[in-house]
Symmetry: C2
Subunit: 242 residues, 2 copies
């Protein structure tokens, strides 16, 4: 929660007083034609109203009326390995942090200290995604915007996360292993094939699409910078321009 | 993050204008002795300054200077089973929520969906407490006050949580199984003995005390309501009276 410091109130009282007293003095001068009266009224007003303004502001600081909270939301970025999820998540994080919003990134490396290593069967992956969803929803409830980026290929666990979050936005970065390999600096696909990884969407299983996905981008035709712009436009329209 | 709505600014402009224009009119009346001049100046001031005030407020809403955030902290309540941890945590939660602060309770039932069942060996308990500590520190970093209540009998994992949190406050509710049994409506101790639970502080292991514990209460001599008052006094002094 944010509060106004006494110094902020004092400074506001001063900047307002300069504007306001000059206005009063001009009005008095116009109506009376007397410069000395204008100065006398201005001088007394300066002192009296600065004090009143201070008290008025401190009183309003205790009143919640019209003080609105920017809604928090969960941005869930999904797609096959090396489709650009982490990079997009980081780009959006930076934009939102610049706007002084509370944002938490949830990528595999952020949640490693929280959840012990889990396996790669369909059930294990679903359970893992659901746990991350619980975490995202806890953060969202406390006013923290959450940007999660996980392969999360199964519609079931994504639907579960959608259900438990209030403002859930799913972004699917659509790609295919052929295309993704170009950006695969860590050699994920080569390793996956050599070591016979199981349940890799695009290789031995399908990525499960969903009709409800809010934003879908074909990464073969769209740059990450275009995606970032579209996402920010969506977030501003839906949540941020309160 | 909180923002002022346009309606709040307009309402403030109005309440301020009533105070301020009455002051101006009185001053003009005193200095000129003319009621009609006082009314004319007042009328024009009313219109001009209401507009200026609105613009002045909207401008200041964009300025961060002097807008201070109430610091978040992690309140870690520790003690043997049935020492009053959960009840105290809930009491403090209610007090802080009343003050419109963001607060998250972390009790075994809050974290069950996040962390799969863990065991009761020293190592398993330490790892579990460390994971909860990571969660608390993530919430704290995002401005959320966290109230955790766990037996957490081992000094090692409590020290770890202290290390990774910024504002960590440990509260130890000191008790013994003999005394705790009086409040043991769920029959924990009876069950623990009958089913030979392992690593129960007070029964087969010792609760590890720590010199750094910020607040320590002897529950045999102190009521939970007295503890609540002391804790709130501490929190106000240390964090909340910004």
């Amino acid at each position: 929660m944010y509060k106004d410091s006494k110094l902020r109130t004092l400074t506001k009282a001063f900047t307002w007083r300069v504007t306001a007293t000059l206005t009063t003095m001009t009005l008095v001068l116009i109506f009376t034609g007397k410069l000395d009266t204008a100065i006398e009224v201005g001088a007394l007003e300066l002192i009296a109203k600065m004090l009143f303004y201070y008290l008025h502001e401190r009183g309003w600081a205790k009143i919640g009326f019209g003080r609105i909270e920017v809604p928090s939301f969960v941005l869930w970025i999904t797609g096959i390995p090396v489709s650009g999820k982490t990079t997009l998540g980081n780009l959006i994080y930076e934009e939102l942090a610049k706007e002084k919003l509370k944002v938490q990134r949830l990528d595999s490396h952020d949640i490693r200290p929280l959840f012990p290593e889990t396996g790669f069967t369909r059930e294990e992956v679903n359970n893992h995604i659901k746990r991350v969803g619980h975490l995202a929803s806890m953060l969202e409830k406390n006013g923290v915007i959450t940007i999660a980026s996980f392969v999360s290929p199964y519609a079931e666990s994504r639907a579960f996360v959608r259900e438990i979050c209030k403002n859930y936005v799913e972004i699917h970065l659509d790609s295919d292993p052929e295309f993704a390999r170009q950006y695969d600096r860590k050699g994920f696909y080569q390793k996956a094939e050599a070591e016979h990884y199981i349940n890799v969407p695009g290789l031995d299983i399908l990525f499960e699409h969903c009709d409800k996905t809010e934003l879908k981008f074909d990464m073969r035709k769209t740059s990450l910078d275009e995606v970032r712009k579209e996402v920010m436009k969506f977030l501003h329209k839906r949540f941020l321009n309160v």
